[in-house]
Symmetry: C2
Subunit: 389 residues, 2 copies
């Protein structure tokens, strides 16, 4: 019953917020300019050991948040998004490891983003929020670790955009991580990936309620954000998985309607995904985060992925999924090849699955592989479990 | 210089319109009800032989039209959409064959569709136009052939939605065609294909100018239709082709803009495609035609594609393209398997290409294969070229 257990051997999931109130109050941004003070929403699971050597940073994807595991109360309808992976006795074992997950800057789940109030104006930033990058997200996370007194992480771990952050950690802070686990990701966004994101952004910006991003307190660009999410959801699923789940099944009718209402289950599913997303996500945050991942290109500035990855020092476990056509396995293989050319200790696993990109969010073989990788890492590094107080 | 030659050995391309003014004035529709009188816009190339046995019907795709080949005047910027395939001495040789291409009903390029004036009201149909199907499109084409006095076609030939029409011809009018050439198509729309179309329709219907489809004479749902086309264009291209053509090249700038303007070539391309499409296509027609192809399922009503294709009598040449992920080769193979189970004479060719679904509109190996297939067909059938007058 994974969904009803509390993760962390020290009891309920913690939810904490931290404001960078000590100097520097501002984060220097890759695109120029500064942002601050910054708030990062984060959660922790398990306990830090005395040596502060058992910390693992979980990195979330485009629409994820800091609530990676557990429930806050017994009647929570569902646990954090990676609950089956993180918890006592689970692959990311909170009896052994101290697990941290923070919401990215630019997001809308507690960390500073375009929906946050700009202290200079007293109003939400909207599109006056600076365009941030994956590097900026990672630098903010490094500040959080400074604040927590953690010099070095056992591992950084994430899928999709989370995998991009894991890659960035390995080159921006090579001495601060023992291992990186980038999953279902790429070293640079491809034109097809950019194209899908641009459609989503165009849908949001074409919404008559968008108002140049200044819609807070009024009607929100509901249909635009919903459309963006619908496009996204198609790319998260494989053709095969959609055949299996939806086929050509009709929705609530026995025959085609011969009108422009919903005919098929798959249409109903997409609209449900779009509509429910609007309730929990900010349209501007969708713009900023998709832009950050479109800008992501680890091969820059030299133009050579191998040259850039030469800065990395940690071990790598790279995971991809056979039916993931949004971040296809060839993109993971490019990363692995560049790592191996550099003589870096890298393991690669392509997992056979029909679930497409979504596979990284679903229980499967990946879990054991990650669990074993972390256990070996901790064992070889002499990492001690936290003492029972 | 294929683009400057006039197709057809009898001179310039003809453009003709035909109204079904003889009884029956109305077409019975698959979804119930009737539509009429109907206008079909069509073009012909070459000349019909005395036996009326050398006619080939070209079937266009979602956004195609009856202008399949040739130019109307020397200064036309570009010829019809399949010009390299159709013309004197070309694979569909207009010195030998009489070639016909008509715009589908439900379309907006001269044939009766939602932008047409409803004779009962004197106003454009808009969404009062009945939902039509691929079968309806084909039945209207059969009426056109009746009008032209052509009992039997040498071949029907089309890609994508054109391929669906070719398949329908084979089962609705098995005695009226000698061969069918369905290209880059499917026997039924998959949930992924439906999902992409539904996003396009939702974008159009969410546009504040859509007005329930009654936008004629006012502002049109420009941004919605543009978005629909942008989504479509991603699906027409392979990942590989986009890498090759766009990569991560910037558009008109030397560095990332760090704002929400266009950064990448691929974004600019998509917007260009969307914006130019709006100038030539009607948003309601996009709704009707995508609905028709989403409804397309040749395995119905029995549920067995093999059982339904048992009605076919003609020869088949089925063509797919290796990198077409919108209508992947496995969908063509399903058609071929069902044909072969029925003992029908079917040839299958999967062409290796990096151009994705768009490959069916580009010169390549397909042309020769089609040319040879037609030449063999005509030779074995004793089809005579039209006499020189």
């Amino acid at each position: 019953m994974p969904h009803t257990r509390q993760p962390g051997s020290v009891g309920p999931v913690k939810k904490q917020f931290h404001t960078f109130c000590e100097p520097p109050h501002e984060l220097e941004l890759e695109g120029g300019g500064r942002l601050g003070p910054i708030t990062l929403a984060y959660e922790t699971y398990g306990r830090l050991n005395r040596e502060k050597s058992n910390a693992i940073l979980i990195l979330h994807a485009l629409t994820g948040d800091s609530h990676a595991a557990g429930i806050y109360a017994e009647d929570d309808p569902k646990p954090g998004w990676w609950d089956y992976l993180i918890g006592p006795g689970r692959p990311v074992d909170t009896d052994k490891y101290f697990v941290i997950c923070s919401n990215v800057i630019g997001g809308c789940q507690g960390s500073t983003g375009p929906a946050s109030v700009n202290p200079a104006t007293g109003r939400p930033y909207g599109l006056t929020f600076p365009v941030i990058t994956v590097n900026d997200m990672v630098r903010a996370q490094a500040h959080l670790l400074d604040h927590m007194g953690i010099d070095r992480l056992l591992a950084v771990l994430g899928g999709s955009m989370g995998g991009m952050q894991a890659l960035v950690w390995s080159v921006l802070f090579p001495d601060r991580i023992m291992a990186a686990i980038p999953i279902a990701t790429t070293a640079k966004h491809s034109p097809q990936q950019i194209a899908f994101n641009q459609v989503g952004r165009a849908a949001i910006m074409a919404d008559s309620h968008f108002n140049g991003g200044d819609y807070y307190g009024g009607e929100i660009p509901r249909s635009g954000l919903s459309l963006a999410r619908m496009v996204g959801h198609i790319t998260y699923r494989s053709d095969e998985a959609m055949h299996e789940r939806f086929g050509r099944k009709l929705r609530g009718k026995k025959a085609l309607g011969y009108n422009f209402g919903i005919d098929f289950e798959v249409e109903s599913f997409l609209h449900y995904q779009g509509d429910s997303f609007v309730e929990r996500f900010d349209a501007n945050a969708y713009l900023y985060i998709t832009k950050a991942i479109d800008y992501f290109d680890l091969s820059m500035p030299s133009g050579s992925l191998t040259a850039e990855l030469a800065r990395a020092k940690c071990k790598f476990l790279v995971v991809s999924f056979s039916s993931d056509w949004l971040y296809p396995p060839y993109q993971s293989k490019e990363v692995v090849k560049s790592l191996l050319v550099n003589g870096i200790d890298a393991t690669y696993c392509e997992i056979e699955t029909r679930f497409g990109h979504d596979a990284f969010l679903l229980p499967g073989e990946m879990d054991t592989i990650i669990g074993n990788f972390l256990a070996n890492l901790a064992s070889r590094g002499g990492i001690k479990a936290p003492s029972v107080s």
